[in-house]
């Protein structure tokens, strides 16, 4: 028999080249781990046959949780008995993916002992994915993880593991505390995260500014993206430094690329018509030593993004144009204090009226954004649309005035 710890054949061809090789990773794990050994063999089979050999999971998990584990079985268990069960555990990452080696090493130890010794750091939603173990090992792994202070993330029709950009931890553009909000929303909704009360999955992502470094507008049912309302802070000396020292063509690279054409540059001063600035970040990104976002900061909340299944992919769309995310909270504006109620209202409505496997974005499409806003108690705002309707198919609701007239 060939050495089961080494990839031969097709897979071996993926060991060379400058980019880190996942095959070498599996080999490394396979040195001591039989699951990893069988994974090599199975993958080689898939490569030869151009077919995947996994079957649907069925319901496996840890006690009391409805998510966090993806069950998986191989369809050729005789050949590869060590991956006959090959369930993954999704482990809720710490906000913004900061680690201390101590904790990481302990996770490695657990996984080497009780799993495949292979993981994904990280999965697309943000969890640490412990890639493949048996049903029997699920509880023990869970128990050791929780002792270490880690818990499982989401899967199935639950709140999925929230994630956030590095934000205030290392980025000068964080317009609100992304880590804090990600953490607090994870903790507050532990029940929703572990138990499937929803019609389908629901994702939160928090990005500190419109650059959206966690792709929240594309991948979260509720997207929080930092922004500001007052004027961009301009250090004209530094602008000149970019122009003269760095030889940056301010007109072409900055002014001409501004989407709202609200900037002017006369070779000496950069003038911004802030009332027309759409907070796209471009000028700040490029002239980052000279320009900074204003001081009146908060975030825009958007709703509904998702992958294509069923009704086609959606990007999130504006729900709350601006919300202040830190004290002092003013009376007349949307603030983070209103957030729990907003979320509750959305979940309640969607929970009650959403169809099975209908994401909130699809639900809004079905019932209509106007009705959705009515039901969750938000006022319509022009910021929510890229333009008003073009079709005349308006479901007019007759006001009291009209009704009276009608009765006359």
């Amino acid at each position: 028999m060939a050495d089961k710890t080494k990839a031969t054949g097709m897979l071996a061809e993926l060991k060379d080249g400058p980019y880190p090789s996942f095959v070498k990773e599996i080999e490394a794990a396979a040195e001591k781990n039989e699951m990893a050994q069988d994974l090599i063999g199975l993958l080689e089979l898939s490569y030869n046959e151009k077919l995947c050999h996994w079957k649907h999971g069925g319901i496996v998990g840890v006690m009391g949780y409805g998510g966090g584990v993806i069950g998986r079985y191989v369809d050729v268990p005789e050949e590869f008995p060590n991956v006959s069960h090959f369930h993954t555990l999704r482990v809720n990452q710490p906000a913004a993916w900061f680690y201390k080696t101590e904790a990481l090493r302990k996770i490695c130890d657990i996984w080497e002992e009780r799993g495949s010794a292979i993981m994904n750091i990280h999965g697309s939603t943000g969890d640490i994915i412990l890639l493949g173990t048996t049903t029997a090992q699920l509880e023990p792994v869970f128990s050791e993880l929780t002792k270490l202070g880690f818990d499982l993330g989401g899967s199935g029709s639950v709140l999925r593991t929230p994630s956030c950009c590095v934000g205030p931890a290392r980025c000068e553009w964080a317009m609100f505390d992304t880590l804090k909000f990600a953490y607090e929303h994870t903790m507050k909704y532990q029940d929703e995260l572990h138990r499937p009360y929803f019609p389908y999955k629901f994702k939160f992502k928090f990005s500190g500014c419109p650059n959206d470094c966690v792709a929240s507008i594309a991948r979260a049912d509720m997207s929080f993206i930092g922004t500001w309302r007052d004027d961009i802070l301009v250090n004209q000396d530094k602008v000149l430094w970019y122009a003269n020292e760095k030889k940056l063509d301010i007109q072409e690279i900055v002014v001409d690329r501004c989407p709202t054409k609200c900037m002017e540059w006369d070779g000496k001063e950069l003038h911004i018509d802030n009332r027309n600035c759409s907070r796209c970040m471009h000028c700040i990104n490029v002239l980052h030593l000279a320009l900074k976002p204003g001081k009146d900061r908060g975030c825009t909340i958007l709703i509904g993004s998702k992958a294509p299944i069923l009704e086609g992919a959606q990007l999130s769309s504006v729900l709350v144009p601006f919300m202040r995310m830190e004290p002092p909270y003013a009376e007349d504006e949307a603030t983070a204090e209103d957030l729990p109620e907003l979320i509750d209202n959305i979940w309640e409505l969607w929970g009650e009226e959403g169809k099975n496997r209908e994401r909130v974005g699809e639900f809004i499409q079905r019932i209509g954004m106007g009705n959705f806003l009515d039901a969750i108690g938000l006022e319509p705002a022009a910021e929510m649309v890229s333009h008003p309707r073009t079709n005349p198919y308006v479901f007019y609701e007759l006001g009291e005035e009209d009704e009276e007239e009608e009765d006359e």
């Binding site: 993926l14 996942f22 040195e31 994904n120 990280h122 980025c171 000068e172 792709a215 796209c280």
Partner: protein
Amino acid sequence: MTAEPAERLTDIGPPHFEKFLPPVVKANYGKWDSHEILAPGIYVHTAESGDKLYTIRAATARLISVQKVRQFCDIADKYCDGHLRWTSRNNVEFLTTKKENVEPIKKEIEALGHPVGGTGNSITNIVHTQGWVHCHSAATDASGIVKAVMDELMDEFTNMRLPGKLRIALACCLNMCGAVHCSDIAILGIHRRAPEIDHERLRKMCEIPNVVASCPTAAIRPTSVDGNPSVEVIEEQCMFCANCFTVCPSMPLNDPEIDGVSLWVGGKVSNARHEPMFSKLAVPFIPNNPPRWPEVVEAVKNLVTVWADGARPYERMGEWIERIGWPRFFEVAGIEFQKEHIDDFKHAVTTFNTSTHLRF
């Protein structure tokens, strides 16, 4: 819920992030003033206090062994007081306040086979999914194509000479766990044949109303087979999304010769300059050709090249194409425009060219 043993912990959530933040981060949390990219993969953030934090970013394969994680930890212990992080695109980052540590970290991580780069106007890591490594849905592998494509593009990871950022993502089926729908270049695994129904198993495993409801095009109808209730698929109405298979394992679509990969271009996520955009279909189909998918690699490389040649500074793929127009894009990319490119789903009519704005 059943009673649980007293000591069993649940619903504890993740560790509080503060436990893992480096001291310099805690001290300057929310008070960073600026950053600069010193070299590809290496940047420094300066706080209002004047404190500096150096970051060294290196590529990883995402699929990683515990052995490798420990090696990363060794480096972090040696130079970073045990601190490290991963990025939202699965690169690893080493964090240090000491400038003199930067080069040694770079050397050691590169020695492990992990090139440093991915910052600024470069191609960073490919966001991807499970593929044949773990998912039952996969129409193609994930890690293999990513490896092959990144091997080819590595010079653009370790340099910052592109017009703008270029984000590549891969998803092995239409579920799009890689959220490829808003990427500069998206690689998408696809089926091209209707599900084959195993009526025997379907009867036992699947709920017929759910199966019927799962189909976006209403191609699935209840029927009876040999006197037993089952479903049938109207093949002309099936566009191979596999949503029925997600709901019901007895309706597989996999087929080694028919499955393959499609390429999509011009999506973006950031709000910088242009609003976020969906990716659009560029190459309808490339067959699966493991282990190195040479046709896919070549096609992706070609897309990167034509964009790099044509785009103005900071123009992302989609912005460039919008400026030159899609007909010109197909021309310079050498891709034939086909029936498949024309939308025929729900909002198709909104994608038609309703103007005479044409370049000849």
